[in-house]
Amino acid sequence: MPLLDFIRYHQHLTGTKAGCNEGDCGACTILIGDLHNGELRYRSFTSCLTPLGNARGKHIVTIEGVSMPSLNPIQQALIDNSATQCGFCTPGFVMSLAGFCLSRQVPKRRRAIAAIDGNICRCTGYKSIEKTASIIANFVKQRNETDPVTFAVEQQILPSWFSGIEERLKKLTLSLNGEPAAAGTPIVGGGTDLYVQKPEDIREQSLRFFFDDPSLKGISRQGNKCIFGASSTATDLLESAVMQEYFPQLENYIKLVSSTPIRNMATIAGNFINASPIGDLTIFFLALDTTLEFNTGRILPLRQLYKGYKQLNKTEEEYVCRCWFELPDKDTLFHFEKVSKRTHLDIASVNTAICIRMQDGYISKARISAGGLNPVPGLLTDTAAFLEGQIPDDALVQQACAIAQKEISPISDARGTADYKRLLLEQLIKAHFITLFPSLPIQV
């Protein structure tokens, strides 16, 4: 059962709204608090896609849980700025902004905006909501080094009983006795795809919840490799010190991938295994030649995972435990591009990543991944092979674009016509080179 149904129809807490049932509107946003390395951490989730099983041992906060007899500063700022009209999306915005107030990141306006990037409002046109977000960001700046929960309680952003949650969670965690689920039971990570694709089928089914398995978490550096657990989320990736160090543009890339609550929920391995032809993280990690390790000990390069549309080189019992890739050195250039109908919180028309190694002005090694163009996400191997050993210039890029056209077989669908996707890939390959070699005069 999705957490939303439990909240609304079992607990009769009707402040959390059902809008789209696929994580795309944010009306059902709630906060989930858990202990992360012994420290209390809150993140926003769309409850329509959150498996009830992922609530185990957690603190679930709904709009009722942040409302007090007098309005909290978020609620007051929304009213002051006339940022609520029909009101149906409003509880979701309140929760996302509460999540921002509880987050440990340095409070900035753009982060307050990012916190509500998964919330759709059809009435206001958002300008009044932007103003509210700015006010909240300024408000939280007063926090300085104070612990977010302490600050939120002191400032009456949250009810006072929040101060006791960390202790209560610790006790709760201790009293849990997890039993191993039977083999063959379907696996759920964040639930962000499964609950969109087949919510009815899995409603009454027993499931294995891997989202919180500590052995599947963590992103770290070992030598020149980055190793990450299969249940690491897109947000974990964004917040990882290793990733930030080696991918200075990471925030810009990840901003193009779904929305804050979905990034909080969606696991990286889930993106791989979902086998969508346009999985953003899959495209990202394909270009990095990522390697997968299954629970059976088998090792498999990501590029060999896909046998055909939604067909995987993997047995039913195998699941990904961890993944690794070689971190880019100073001669390695990486870039990610994605275009969709709506720039944010949308599925790509075409996405692509490039990773090239330069040696004495020559391309010594190249990998280009591309999605939305073939039944499976994959590498443009001929294009990459053509680039190797060459000096990048306009003619080379134009020829590479022509070769890439032979490696793809796009179809027309709701994300664009085949002609459009062909042209778009060409443009995005040029965008790779224009970004990585700003001085090259590349004809568009």
């Binding site: 059902a18 006339s82 009101g87 109908k341 028309s349």
Partner: protein
């Protein structure tokens, strides 16, 4: 004053349909929509579905005790299909079960034997086959045939305008609870409580007095719940009637998107003629409205297209014909602007076409032809125009000349980024175009403690109408706002209402409230005059104090009310308001249909990433004819929201049906509305404060629909930016201008660019699958 619902909204305690506490024994419904867009329905196999656990009963057309008919303007739409299906998603059967999940599971087990028939999705094809909702209508003035000969320039072309999904965040739904004496209480998420009442009454064959419709508020409507809330109420009522149990159905998003109609797609042919001074002297246009499978509100929408086919311009010779074409899409319906936006897009396209060929800025033609006070609209009404004033103020206030220079400078120095500017003037008539609908009633009670409650036919859906009505009462009585409360809209309190639509709800219901409050106030003054030994016209109430000849008397509001009650004076009033002056002759297609017009001018700037085809909205700067706003906070919100919704319609919102009439953009993952990153970086709104007397409540001109049409400028700003990159670009007048359309246009007709726009692949109705 802030929206009176704001506090419950932000604390999550506002009650919407799905939040109403359930009565024990409530059952849940789910509708089976036709999987085929057109066909003969032979039979339904229900056995397997009936065997599902918790299923109570499945209702079909045969179970309808009254007329199987929900058509409002034209009786052409069954509640449940009986022999033919006319669109994908057309309700065929209604399952009722003990749980939501069981009802939905059972729907999937029903098998419908349908022989498919040919499907039409294109309005031009429907028109060619004489598949019409009604005979065509023509508005004309002057003599275009004669005028063509006087034109120095004549341009003709075609336009293809896509629809728009309402995407109210609260889906449609109803909850029907049986009452004693064969009555039903219907909770509905509807803009038209009377329409729901009438539909339930018709389909059950019961008098209207047995049907009570209650609406507290909507989580968004935008026109989508003006007529199309009827179906779900009627289905739940049908089941509740037979079973004697409460029945509820709150639609799943995908059901809502697949089964309900949207803004009408239109195709159009235009021909525009200008003289050598760039005066538009002739305009001919033929509209092909894609009505979908039934009339719904299409005739009304069609009329507003004709009313607004010349937008803010005066054109002496006009010939405009509109065809309402029957296709196999869900019946298209009201959507903010109600056909006006489509009419305006076409004239703007015609002007842009002329400007491009003449190599001048479209703004030159636009400004030159703005309608002036005393000019006649093609439908006979004489303009009281603020068009020129809005344009002038916008051009001055926002330094249009300097702005254009800055854009030109940017374009000269950026190879892969180009900016585009566009002006978008708007003129929108206020009143239901169907004159008989322009009336409303208000019931005002003053209780003995001085508190006031008000019932009207207005439905609160975020537009703040209840706040404005409250302001009317507080102002007339001169009492504190917290003494006044608005009741949920209920057909028992207020009968025979028009829907909350046409931007006229605050005007109509506000005026009725004004009349009711004034009537009570007059009686109270009489009471005070008698007690204080003076004349009634010497008595005033200011800030709750009773004054005689502006001097305090020691009496306050509460004391006055108490005294009136003691004297057995009525403290209640039910007032009726009907808009004066308006009339329209549908034979001559001439008259004075609008109480007044709202004007405005927007200037929009966009930046196109010419490498990727993506774009951003830099700024929208508006001068809007507010009249004298009653509530600037609410009105600003309406304008900003309208602009962004209009930009969404023009840019990213793409309704995609395949050739079989199946909706492909059937979820929020495939139908994109603006998110917080998609909105203009800057929206500036300035008020043109016109003080001329008008028929608006407290001279505060209506603000619901007109701002949406500022968004049309986004399309033309994008077009202008594309032309900066590729002066030869092929940019057909097709909406929306998605990143795909932009990229294809940027590289159209270029040497290496393979790309030409092909109608077959770019039309929203013709994608390959």
């Amino acid at each position: 004053m802030k929206n009176i619902d704001a506090k419950t909204h932000v604390s999550g305690t506002s009650v919407y349909l799905d939040d109403i506490p359930l009565i024990q024994g409530t059952l849940y419904g789910a509708a089976l929509g036709s999987p085929v867009a057109h066909g003969v329905l032979h039979q339904l196999q229900l056995e397997e579905a009936l065997r599902e656990p918790d299923v109570i009963r499945i209702f079909t057309a045969a179970d309808i005790p009254g007329d199987n008919q929900i058509g409002g303007i034209i009786k052409d739409e069954p509640l449940l299909a009986s022999d033919h299906v006319h669109f994908c998603g057309m309700p065929i059967a209604f399952v009722v079960a003990r749980t939501r999940e069981a009802a939905r599971a059972a729907v999937k087990k029903i098998k419908a034997d349908i022989t498919p028939l040919p499907v039409i999705t294109d309005p031009r094809e429907a028109q060619a086959q004489n598949q019409l909702i009604m005979p065509p209508r023509t508005f004309s003035q002057g003599d275009t045939e004669q005028a063509w000969r006087e034109c120095a320039h004549v341009f003709a072309g075609a336009v293809d305008i896509n629809g728009q999904e309402h995407l109210y965040i609260e889906t449609q739904g109803a909850y029907v609870v049986p009452q004693e004496n064969n009555s039903l209480r219907v909770y509905s998420s509807t803009q038209g409580p009377t329409a729901v009442q009438r539909t339930v009454s018709t389909t059950l064959g019961q008098p209207m007095h047995r049907i009570e419709v209650v609406v507290t508020r909507l989580g968004g409507g935008f026109g989508g719940k003006e007529d199309q809330a009827n179906t779900w109420a009627a289905l739940c009522a049908l089941a509740a009637w037979h079973l004697g149990k409460p029945v509820k159905y709150a639609l799943h998003r995908m059901e809502d998107m697949a089964m309900t109609g949207k803004r009408h797609p239109y195709m159009a042919d235009y021909k525009i003629g200008l003289d050598s001074s760039l005066n538009i002297i002739a305009y001919e246009v033929t509209f092909f409205q894609n009505a979908g499978a039934a009339a719904d509100l299409s005739p009304g929408v069609l009329s507003r297209t004709l009313f607004h086919c010349t937008n803010s311009y005066y054109i002496p010779n006009v010939h405009a014909t509109a065809w309402s074409c029957r296709t196999h899409l869900p019946p298209n319906t009201a959507f903010r602007g109600f056909g006006g936006p489509q009419g305006m897009f076409v004239i703007e396209a015609a002007i842009a076409h002329a400007a491009r060929v003449l190599q001048i800025d479209a703004a030159v033609i636009q400004q030159k032809n703005l309608i002036k006070t005393g000019d006649e609209f093609p439908y006979g009404q004489i303009a009281q125009s603020e068009a020129g004033a809005c344009w002038q103020k916008a051009a001055t206030l926002y330094d249009a000349t300097g702005w254009k220079q800055a854009v030109d400078a940017f374009n000269a120095t950026h190879r892969l980024q180009k900016k585009g500017l566009a002006f978008m003037p708007v003129c929108f008539g206020i009143s239901f175009t169907n004159t008989m609908m322009n009336h409303a009633r208000s019931l005002v009670h003053v209780y003995t403690d001085g508190s006031v409650c008000i019932s009207t036919g207005a439905v609160e859906m975020g537009q703040g109408v209840n706040t404005k009505i409250l302001q009317v009462a507080a102002q007339i009585f001169s009492i504190r706002a917290d003494r006044v409360k608005l009741n949920p809209t209920n057909t028992i309190n207020i009968a025979n209402t028009s829907p909350s639509a046409a931007s006229a709800t605050a005007d109509l219901n506000g005026k009725a409230t004004l009349m009711a409050c004034n009537a009570i106030l007059e009686r109270l003054k009489e009471v005070a005059a008698t007690a204080l030994d003076t004349k009634a016209d010497a008595v005033t109430i200011v800030n709750e104090q009773v004054l005689v000849n502006r001097e305090p008397t020691g009496w306050d509001w509460q004391q006055l009310v108490s005294a009136a009650f003691t004297k057995r004076v009525s403290l209640s009033e039910h007032a009726h308001y009907a808009t004066p002056e308006i009339h329209f002759d549908t034979v001559k297609e001439k008259g004075h249909p609008f109480a007044y017009h709202v004007y405005g001018t927007a200037i929009l700037e966009v930046t196109v990433d010419c490498l990727r085809g993506i774009y951003k909205m830099d700024a929208v700067k508006v001068v809007h004819d507010f009249g004298s706003s009653m509530n600037p906070d609410i009105d600003r919100g309406q304008i900003e929201g309208g602009i962004v919704q209009g930009i969404g319609w023009m840019t990213m919102e793409e309704v995609i049906f395949d050739k079989e009439g199946r909706l492909r953009s059937n979820a929020l993952s495939t139908y994109k509305v603006p998110d917080i990153y998609a909105v203009p970086e800057e929206i500036v709104i300035d008020a043109l404060r016109s003080t001329a007397d008008n028929l608006a409540i407290f001279r505060s001109k209506a603000v619901g629909e007109p701002p949406l049409m500022y968004g049309i400028g986004a399309w033309f700003a994008l077009r202008n930016a594309i032309l900066q990159f590729n002066p030869e670009a092929d940019i057909p007048f097709i909406t929306p201008m998605t990143p795909e359309k932009v990229l294809m246009a940027l590289y159209s007709n270029k040497e290496k660019g393979i790309i030409q726009q092909h109608e077959a692949t770019t039309s929203h109705l013709g994608i390959d699958q």
